[in-house]
Symmetry: C2
Subunit: 225 residues, 2 copies
Amino acid sequence: MSRLRSYGQYCGLAQALEIIGERWALLIVRDLVLGPKRFTDLRTGLPRIPTNVLSARLKELEAAGVVHRRTMPRPSAAVAYELTAYGSELEEVVLHLGRWGAKSLGDPKPEDIVTIDGEVLALRATFKEDAARGANARHQLQVAEVIVHAIVNDGALTAGDGPLPDADLVMRTDALDGLKLLLSRDISATEAIASGLFTVEGSIAEFERFVDLFGADTQAATAPA
Amino acid sequence: MSRLRSYGQYCGLAQALEIIGERWALLIVRDLVLGPKRFTDLRTGLPRIPTNVLSARLKELEAAGVVHRRTMPRPSAAVAYELTAYGSELEEVVLHLGRWGAKSLGDPKPEDIVTIDGEVLALRATFKEDAARGANARHQLQVAEVIVHAIVNDGALTAGDGPLPDADLVMRTDALDGLKLLLSRDISATEAIASGLFTVEGSIAEFERFVDLFGADTQAATAPA
DNA sequence: CTGGATCCCTCACGATACTG
DNA sequence: CAGTATCGTGAGGGATCCAG
């Protein structure tokens, strides 16, 4: 970071922003929270990032001790980026900021895309542990082309990408905002199915439980202007 | 936010970054967490921010529902900026990020400044509630020209700027890194006084308690590279 | 004096093309 | 696959100016 562009304050927050305050940086961290990724994986998860910027951010994050660049053992010679222990401490902030931003996320614009990692993170971020005590569930969710799954095992969540062959609930929606309407409780689970917005394989009760586990709080959330 | 510069993802974190991801934005929020401020107050708290950027950020934050622009009643006609309820929800993130960044905050560089708000936020961020259960204390701290105070009342912290006339502990240090050495436990409270790094009015026991309340965890913290 | 607006310059970002 | 090279644009930085 050039001295001139520095915030020039001896302050933890300013230092944090010097590290992960640059454009794209925290989104890279977001994708790496879900596990090590290769350069190309990051590109596909962040389709609009220029490669030179991705390159630069990775170097900066590595220099700051947030990301570790690991060269795979032979014969692949592939390169993988993963969070260091220090970088992993950002997970809470990423989830918290994600929840905060989601509140002012309006209707999706046509050009908005949904990425696998974004969706998985959203599941993690909106998961309500107290509503899930002792629960067990195997859910698969498809939004447009993106397929992710959520496994709740005795109240503990494991969310990941890809399908879940033995899921007891499979949900599909084409419209990007279908999930938003459902999870923000603008429409009920029954309405979501009746309107054709969602196709569901599994019991309606299970579908409603999905909304309980991952939907908005029933009490009014703080809304932006 | 221009469409072209948008991250283009329908994702809570991306949305959060569209709002508070721009340069200086979160530092403005940091200063406003401590209470309403006028344009000039923000300038002095962020000495290196260009006024046009401050102007632009305030407008963006206002449009996003994070900041409210309040015109004071007569006769002052002054303008005050304050966080909305939505904006106030960022306090946890600001403190969390501040703690995270502080871990990789090296020795202060000569041009680094310490602001009042940064110092007060640091006190709030590093306060250890569990170490303070039922405690009462009135501390005044001076770092260079910056004077702040911390009041612990039955375990609850109130940190603010300015001196505390009836403090039972008054601490002073000239060097910017004096506080860092002490709170990172690189030197003990006794050493801090013996070396002349700190001048203290009050009992050494109280001074040690200050370190316990606001210092680094005794267990090894995750350190960056 | 506060609360900005305006101008100009630079550099980071963004898009595209290309390489080991 | 994993980046570098090149180049145009616009946001950020710094100084100055202006209205209430």
